[in-house]
């Protein structure tokens, strides 16, 4: 229905060769005699012929398309993280002349890998089964943002633990002791790791991350606000908050503004992401940068290598970077 109807046969007839020769022209032009190559080339162009990729694929050929699976998990598709990964992957693939098949994955696991040559997971959240299935089907794949240790699979992630550690220690070095952490959904690996890092930094410095200062926001603005309200109502506000994401930090910032809590004088804040939305204006967020674009391009590179060169799974961990801006200050001893 949606094809131009000209097939390899038409090209063969017009060029006066067999369909096998046309196929060879398509896949390995160098193997043709100059003379034939020209004839076929002319025929292909004259007919504006494009091979039917699914037929090619069925016969064992390449289709030059990678899949990108983004977990349906809450608002992740609207998160800075997901969009940036999407951008990065799309840009990298574009450079390679590969197309992108995007799949938002809910609980159904209805992704059919037959339309792609390999798959990139933008994190794995509650879709481990899907990952396992694709692995079993021998689909070449690479996971971004989650370290999968119990399977033989490529991943590219960041050192969330160190990111959390550094941010928290930075706060401690500024004299803070009453430090809170607004964590993400702890079922999400990076959230747990950031929390672990924060906790480790506290303990390393003879402090403790108090339970009443450890709040689960699930990366959500709404839950962030609820937690801020609880904290604010208590008579025991922390002097600094390390947040699991810039989005969460942004909500803390708004809350502080509403309640006239001076930032950073009365409350220091650190985010996580380096979302450009929060890097300009009169109060720029101090945050932990994660190299999302680089993660994407590394993932694409790895996937290409596993497909083209049948390279074994690779595991890459990239570093975060603390970006120091306006929202942290030395604690005033009053």
């Amino acid at each position: 229905m949606s094809s131009s109807n000209i097939t390899i046969k038409d090209v063969a007839k017009k060029a006066g060769v067999s369909i096998a020769t046309v196929s060879r022209f398509l896949n390995n032009p160098g193997s043709l005699k100059e003379n034939n190559r020209k004839k076929v080339e002319k025929a292909v162009e004259g007919l504006d012929y494009k091979p039917l990729l699914y037929a090619r694929r069925l016969a064992g050929g390449r289709i030059n398309t990678f899949g990108l699976i983004i977990p349906g998990y809450e608002g992740i598709f609207y998160s800075y993280f997901a969009l940036e990964i999407l951008r990065g992957v799309a840009a990298s693939l574009d450079r390679e002349g590969t197309d992108l098949h995007l799949h938002i994955s809910w609980d159904k696991d209805n992704f059919n890998s037959s339309l792609v040559e390999g798959v990139i997971f933008a994190d794995v959240i509650e879709n481990d089964q899907q990952l396992k299935r694709l692995l079993k089907e021998k689909t070449p794949l690479v996971v971004i943002n989650k370290k999968i240790e119990n399977e033989d699979v490529s991943y590219v992630a960041i050192n969330n633990f160190k990111g959390g550690y550094d941010a928290t220690e930075f706060l401690i070095n500024h004299g803070h002791k009453k430090i809170a952490h607004f964590a993400g959904d702890l079922r999400v690996q990076c959230a747990q790791e950031r929390l672990d890092g924060a906790r480790a930094a506290m303990e390393k410095n003879g402090l403790k991350l108090l339970p009443e200062y450890t709040k689960i926001t699930n990366f959500s603005r709404k839950e962030t606000r609820e937690n801020m309200e609880v904290l604010f109502a208590s008579s025991n506000m922390p002097t600094a908050i390390f947040c699991c994401s810039d989005e969460v930090a942004s909500e803390v910032l708004s809350f502080a503004e509403e309640k006239d809590i001076a930032v950073p004088e009365s409350l220091s804040i650190i985010g996580f992401d380096d979302n450009p939305r929060l890097s300009y204006g009169s109060l720029m967020l101090t945050t932990v940068r994660q190299p999302l674009i680089e993660m994407s391009s590394v993932a694409v590179r790895i996937l290409k290598d596993t497909i083209d060169k049948k390279m074994p799974p690779q595991r890459v961990i990239l570093d975060t970077e603390l970006i120091i801006r306006d929202t942290v200050t030395f604690l005033k001893y009053s």
Copy 2:
């Protein structure tokens, strides 16, 4: 290589029926006898069978995938427009259980439609040939953001002329006469239409959009700045600028801040897009909102209708809305 290897044959054997029956089960389960349906169902689940979509497609079946083509045109993939269309289309398709095949289109026209059932163009910029080709191939398609009048093709666009007109008239109604327009690349239809609208509003009110106040920014921050510098160096600054995009308006805003030009007191500004990035903070941008998400979902619906119900091409024009915020004020007569 990336398939689970279980085919319709295996299912048929396990269920004790013919492959034709399995095929029927897949496409129209209602046509089977209760008894057989159950047997096949059990076999499919037991084997974790997923049909190979390319084989299905080759045999004439459905694959449930739409293509989205975004022009490679400069930084469009990084624009608010493109990302929002992408989001909107992805969200709509997700609701329908349809997958998305994303293609960034450069000058090569190497998009192969055989992997999709229909195509959505996020604007058409210097890839008219591609559009024509797909049309010739009878690929079901719909164009977003460009009115294609000389072909029989569906589109969903907005009334850019009216958007430009309203914005400019709003400025005029605030006493402005020295109004500038920072236009986009005029080869892009919406840019031309916004300019036309601005010009019409001026003339309707006995004014004229002066050549020296009509600047081509090509939607780029850099060119916006260059134009601002020229304007600023001249002794004849406008009192208001209507910009072709929020991005451009944002650059004007930055420039004004740097040069201590008070906004809106000395310079009123209107953008176009309603990019949320500029809708908060201490100075919120007055702008023309275009319903990008709605455009996306309408496009998806039209495409589905043309494929499923073979509906004829549809043309939809949505309205813009002037969002009044902080950056326009009445001109002070000094």
